[in-house]
Each structure stands twice: as structure tokens, then as C-alpha cells.
């Protein structure tokens, strides 16, 4: 295969450009796939950190726009096997900072019970009504710091804490006291969720069954609520990103094919010469396939490296994004690239294979 190898590296510029084309295409596929994977992770981050294993939501809502009367909390506490019942208000709002507008997810909670931020970068939890803990990424992006004031829905709040891990690229979390959230959203004596923890020895499923009797509320396993939220969120925000990822996958694969196809076409003459000096078709195909495979593999390798580096760069400059490039997706992208490359190379090879050696030198 020394012919193949020598031929391949003979023209360094062309080899470089071919590899670059393949690498960028692979990078594209992996970055967009990483966006989608990261979004899936971010969506459930609050619920995963919230207390309890069973969640009470308004009957029939499966969690969307759930409104429960406050009495539900006491009702839950009176059920045997309940360790704690934590009410939480969860509502979207628009944070209007003059120059920019941003959707935020407002969580109203009781700091003594839980359901608030799980990792503070700095500051404290809200004590007074007008105090909030803001997601650190949101605060940094909008130039807000500890002790700064801002306005939300016509009321003034003060940032007393900055939290970590509380952002998605669509929204960020904002934590305030439960009663303040109730007042802010004009829904006094209500709650959105009640997070229920089980006493020792009770499984989540058993707990759920015991809570089934509470009027006006459905008891869901928290894992089920996470799955439903993920589906809802993704059907809302995920469609465009999934569409983009699909198109990127298609474009990336086609670009790999195009690059290799052209690179092979350019060498038709050389392959013709091989034929003219007596090489059999099988040998021809082997040379061609090997060249394509090498270009694709090197390109995939470089592309995966590029994807990892650029993912880190994007997340460093725009921390609201989470891009997870997983080994499994890198491998499948490389596999697809390889298949496409070999297929794209064999087409022009077939053309040469069908020529008689004399034809090669005729133009």
C-alpha cells in the first residue's frame, strides 16, 4: 500500500484541505448533538436537586401550570409515612433589565424547608421578602452583583446570593421566599408543587399510593415528573434545536462525501496510470478505499478534537450553554463519516475501473 500512502501525502495542501473539510463537518455534527444532549441535562436540573421522591401536582395537569391550595401541604403531612412535605412555587416571568429581556424561572420556597438553590457561589439565602438568590451565570451576563437591586414585575428585589448550576440556555433560575412569590404572582395561599419525602422504610411508590387520596392533587413519582417536564420543555424549546441538529447531521455527512468524492475524482488520472501499468481493479478499489478511509479517520479524529475544544470555548464565553460531547456520539459520527467517505470514493473509482487502460490517456 505504499503507493496509496505516497500518493496521499504527495500533495500536502490538498490532503490538508480534505482533512479540514471532513474535520469541520464532524465537528458540526458533534457540537449540535452536544447542544441537544446538554439541553436534556439542563432541563431537569432543578427537579433533580429538589427534595423528596414524590411530587404533588394539581389533578390532571401532570405538572404544567399546576396550582394547589396551601392546605395540600398539611394534608400531605398528615399521611402516615411522610417525612416532610415542601411547598414550592414555580413560575416563569420575564426579567426586564432595560436593554435586555430574559425569561427566568422563579422559584418561591421556604428556606427552612428546602427546595431552593443547592450550591451558592457566594452570598446567603433569602431572608427578607425582597431578597433573592440569582443564578450566577445570569447575574454575570447581565452585570448584576451581590447587593444590587433590580426590578421584576414592577417590584424591587435585592440580590443576596448567587447560585451555581441553576441555568439553562433558555432560562435561569431565581429563588425568593414562598410568600413573596405568592404575592408577586397574585396567587396567595397556593403552591405549584409539594415535594414529599418518605420516612425510613417506605419506598417512593408506596408513598405515592398513600398520597393518592388527597383531593384535587395527583401524586407523581419525581422521576415521572422529570420525564414529563423534559418532554414538555423539549416539545416547546427542543423542536428548533433538534431540527438544526438533524440538518447539521445531514450537511456534515454530505460535506464528507463531497470532499472525498472530489479528492478521488482529481486523482482519476493517477489511478488510470495504475491501470495502464497492469494493476487489477481490485487493487484499485483497495487503494481508493484506503485513501478515503485514512482521510476520513484523520478528519474524524481532528474533528472530534475540534468539537471538544470548541465546546469548552463556547461554554467558557457563554456559560449558559451546556454542550456535552459524548464518546458514543463521537464514535458514531466517525463511523458515519467513514462509511460516507468510502462510498463517496468508490463512485469515481468505479468509473476508472470500467475504463480500458488505453482510454486513460485520451482526453
Amino acid at each position: 500500500m505504499s503507493v496509496a500512502w505516497r500518493n496521499l501525502i504527495q500533495d500536502k495542501t490538498r490532503a490538508l484541505l480534505s482533512v479540514a473539510g471532513v474535520a469541520l463537518a464532524i465537528m458540526l455534527i458533534l457540537i449540535l448533538g452536544g447542544f441537544v444532549a446538554g439541553m436534556n441535562e439542563q432541563v431537569s436540573t432543578y427537579l433533580e436537586h429538589s427534595p423528596g421522591s414524590v411530587v404533588l401536582v394539581q389533578a390532571g395537569t401532570k405538572g404544567s401550570s399546576s396550582v394547589l391550595p396551601e392546605e395540600t401541604v398539611a394534608a400531605a403531612r398528615s399521611v402516615a409515612g411522610v417525612e416532610s412535605a415542601v411547598p414550592v412555587i414555580s413560575q416563569y416571568a420575564v426579567l426586564d433589565l432595560g436593554q435586555t429581556k430574559q425569561y427566568v424561572s422563579v422559584i418561591g420556597y421556604d428556606p427552612s424547608l428546602g427546595g431552593g438553590p443547592w450550591a451558592l457561589r457566594e452570598g446567603t439565602f433569602p431572608e427578607a421578602d425582597n431578597e433573592v438568590v440569582m443564578d450566577a451565570v445570569l447575574a454575570d451576563r447581565r452585570g448584576l452583583r451581590l447587593d444590587d437591586d433590580f426590578s421584576l414585575l414592577g417590584q424591587t428585589f435585592k440580590v443576596v446570593g448567587l447560585s451555581n448550576g441553576t441555568t439553562t440556555w433558555m432560562t435561569s433560575y431565581l429563588f425568593m421566599r414562598l410568600d413573596k412569590a405568592q404575592q408577586l404572582f397574585g396567587s396567595p395561599q397556593t403552591t405549584t408543587f409539594v415535594f414529599v419525602s418518605a420516612s425510613n422504610g417506605i419506598t417512593p411508590d408506596q408513598l405515592r399510593k398513600r398520597l393518592a387520596g388527597i383531593r384535587g392533587a395527583d401524586a407523581m413519582l419525581k422521576t415521572d415528573l422529570i420525564a414529563t417536564s423534559r418532554t414538555t420543555y423539549l416539545s416547546v424549546f427542543g423542536a428548533p434545536l433538534n431540527l438544526m441538529a438533524g440538518i447539521a447531521g445531514l450537511v456534515g455527512t454530505l460535506v464528507v462525501g463531497l470532499v472525498i468524492y472530489t479528492a478521488t475524482i482529481e486523482r482519476q488520472r493517477e489511478y488510470g496510470v495504475l491501470k495502464a501499468v497492469g494493476a487489477r481493479n481490485r487493487y484499485l478499489y483497495q487503494v481508493v478505499a484506503l485513501q478515503a478511509a485514512v482521510a476520513a479517520m484523520v478528519g474524524s479524529f481532528v474533528g472530534t478534537g475540534l468539537a471538544l475544544v470548541s465546546a469548552q470555548l463556547i461554554m467558557a464565553f457563554r456559560p449558559q450553554f451546556l454542550i456535552t460531547v459524548e464518546p458514543a456520539s463521537a464514535l458514531s459520527a466517525a463511523a458515519i463519516g467513514l462509511v460516507m467517505a468510502v462510498f463517496a470514493a468508490l463512485l469515481p473509482a468505479r468509473m476508472v475501473a470500467r475504463l480500458s487502460p488505453a482510454d486513460v490517456f485520451r482526453r
Binding site: G21, L24, G60, S64, V236, A239, P240, I247, V251, L258
Partner: protein
């Protein structure tokens, strides 16, 4: 020279296809993402844009509908009616709720309309009534067909059963659909007659919406008033804010891919014609003349690539909503302008390599080697 450029171009058919297709695909990435965001922005402000209102009145500090909640005392209605320049005031209640369908709970903005509303009604009623009375609901036709319900059927909205009396179009977007029930029913569900969400104001002939808007804010306490155009802009602004970073990343990636593909193409094009160019040089052609050949080729590939990218995006913008009605793709002039300048940048950068190749091409090479 032009003839040479053209002949050169079309002889390398594969190369031409690759540069055109590759550039087209790279630009497609940018165009489609732009179109998705533009489509979402239009959808999100659709109700506001088509409401028929001139001024919107909301709770003080509230400047959005989507993901927002506004609460005004009912007494605001007569207060606003007294403001000079106001022709009619339509109060609505509004909440993000769910329509229960067999498959899943669909998110819906539920709007409570008063009887004989002067504004705020669905703008494209495809079947049945356009204003709901007590016990009745008007829903989006796609949601209805997904739920297996037609006019006369029963649907669950906000956990209560309503009879479907009308089906609408244009009320479905990427986030949710819009459903209409009567204001009275809405208040009964809330168990409160005391509050409403927004006031849709129509101005009298001869009064400008912005002057009425200012007058309302001055005369009526505790409200924020916006013209329909301003309100719509505020809605779109939130979506636009989400898109900037993602679009910037895609622009960069599209640019790089387009550049790599074009550079490879033009490089191999010149490379395979080295002997021809060498002969020309030997015959006295200046480098500048040869550059012109390359530039013309690149310009033609650019034009075709741009056309391919735009055509493919147009196809997707027509095809995708057929498959998934909640997705809308909109190609905007701004997006087209951006992509055209990207293509120009790619073409200029991609031409640098062959220009360099030609400059150092030694005419004598023609006589030394046969195979390019």
C-alpha cells in the same frame, strides 16, 4: 479570459458540483437557523399583531404576554374608557394552561373573551363560531385533530369540559396553541370576578395610538400601556435575545465549512490546470490575467452556491410546516443579506490560495512534467 474561465469551470464538473453544493450546504446551515428563529418570533407575537387592538393595557411593569402574568382590577375598565381617544375597551383574562388530549397535555394560552368583543378574537376561524359563549371553547384546528375532536365535540381545558364550537388557524406555534373561552366561564373557574389580565383598546379615528397610550398611563394608576407595535416588539425581543449566541456560533461554523469546501475546490481546480496556466504564462500572460480567471470562476461558483443554499432553505420552509405545523420558518431580508456577504467573504478568502499558487507557477514546469 472569460471563455477560459467558463471552459475550465465546466470541465471539472465534479469540482463545480462540489463547490456549489458544499457552499450551498454551508450557507443552508446559517439560513435555516435564522429562519427558525424568525419564524418563532413571528409566531410568538401573532396574537398581539392580529388582535385588532391599537393599545394594550397591562399590570404596571408587565410588558409581555408569553411567560408573563398580568393582573388588573376590573375597575380599570371604566377608568380606561374615560380616557380621551379611547373608542372601545375589551378586557380579557389570560393564562397558560393545558388542553387535555389523549396523547398528552398540550400547553395552551387560554383567553377569556367578553361577549361581543371589539378586539382579541381569533383572526382565522376555519369552522364554526368565532366568539365562545358559556360552556363553549374555540380551539386550534391542529390541536383539535390531534385530540380527535371536531365542532360539537367535547374538550377539557383548564381541567373543565367545554363544547368545541369553533376551529381556528394560525393559533398554533412552537410553544403552545391558543384557546378561547368566555370571560364569564374563566372568572367562574378562578372563583373571582375582581381581576382581568389585559385590556385591548381600540382608539377613536383621529387619535394616534401612541398619544392614547401616553394618556392612559397618565390618567389611570397602576397600569402600563403599550401600542400594539411596541407590545409586539417586546414579545419578540425575548426570543431574539435567546437566539443571538446560538446564531453567532452557527454563523462561524457555516463560514468555516464553506471556506474549507471552497478553498479545496479552487485549489484543486488550479492545480489540475497547472499546465494550461503554465503555457499561458510562458506565452506572456501576466499574473493579473490569471487571477481574473480564478476570480471569475470563484464568482460563478459563489452565485450558484448561494442560489442552492437559498433554494434548499425555501424548500425546507415550505416542507417542514407541512410535517410539523407548529414549526414556522421565515427567510428574512436581513438573513439573506448576511448570507450573501458571508459567501463573498468565503469567495475572497478561498481565492487567495490559488492566487498564491499561480504567482509561483514557473512556466517552465509545463515542459518538465506531463501528469498534473
Amino acid at each position: 479570459m472569460l471563455l477560459l474561465a467558463l471552459r475550465n469551470l465546466f470541465e471539472g464538473k465534479a469540482r463545480f458540483v462540489m463547490s456549489t453544493a458544499g457552499l450551498g450546504l454551508a450557507l443552508l446551515l446559517v439560513l435555516v437557523l435564522d429562519a427558525i428563529w424568525a419564524g418563532s418570533e413571528s409566531q410568538i407575537s401573532a396574537y398581539i399583531d392580529r388582535s385588532g387592538a391599537d393599545v394594550w393595557v397591562a399590570q404596571q411593569g408587565v410588558r409581555n404576554m408569553h411567560m408573563a402574568s398580568s393582573s388588573l382590577p376590573v375597575t380599570t375598565v371604566p377608568d380606561v374608557e374615560l380616557v380621551p381617544g379611547v373608542r372601545s375597551v375589551t378586557p380579557i383574562l389570560y393564562v397558560l394552561g393545558t388542553i387535555n388530549t389523549p396523547n398528552a397535555n398540550q400547553l395552551a394560552y387560554v383567553i377569556g373573551l367578553p361577549p361581543s368583543p371589539a378586539a382579541g378574537t381569533p383572526w382565522a376561524v376555519v369552522k364554526g363560531a368565532g366568539v365562545p359563549r358559556s360552556g363553549e371553547a374555540i380551539i386550534d384546528r391542529t390541536v383539535a385533530s390531534n385530540a380527535g375532536v371536531d365542532v360539537g365535540g367535547v374538550i377539557t381545558v383548564l381541567n373543565h369540559r367545554f363544547t368545541v364550537v369553533g376551529l381556528t388557524a394560525g393559533t398554533l406555534n412552537i410553544v403552545n396553541s391558543i384557546a378561547f373561552i368566555s370571560l364569564g366561564d374563566f372568572m367562574a373557574l378562578r372563583r373571582s370576578q375582581a381581576t382581568i389580565s389585559y385590556l385591548l383598546v381600540r382608539t377613536a379615528a383621529g387619535s394616534s395610538p401612541s398619544s392614547v397610550r401616553t394618556a392612559i398611563e397618565r390618567q389611570v394608576p397602576g397600569v402600563t400601556a403599550l401600542t400594539t407595535a411596541e407590545f409586539s416588539e417586546q414579545e419578540r425581543a425575548v426570543v431574539a435575545g435567546m437566539s443571538t449566541d446560538v446564531v453567532a456560533i452557527m454563523n462561524l461554523v457555516g463560514l468555516l465549512i464553506g471556506l474549507a469546501v471552497m478553498a479545496l475546490s479552487t485549489y484543486t481546480a488550479v492545480l489540475s490546470r497547472r499546465s494550461e496556466f503554465g503555457v499561458l504564462k510562458a506565452l506572456g500572460a501576466r499574473n493579473a490575467d490569471l487571477y481574473v480567471v480564478v476570480i471569475v470562476q470563484t464568482a460563478i461558483a459563489l452565485a450558484f452556491g448561494l442560489a442552492v443554499g437559498i433554494a434548499l432553505t425555501w424548500l425546507l420552509s415550505v416542507g417542514i410546516p407541512l410535517v410539523k405545523p407548529s414549526l414556522a420558518l421565515e427567510m428574512t431580508p436581513a438573513s439573506l443579506a448576511k448570507v450573501t456577504s458571508m459567501a463573498l467573504v468565503i469567495a475572497v478568502l478561498a481565492a487567495i490560495l490559488p492566487v498564491w499558487q499561480l504567482a509561483r507557477l514557473d512556466p517552465a514546469i509545463v515542459f518538465r512534467r506531463k501528469v498534473a
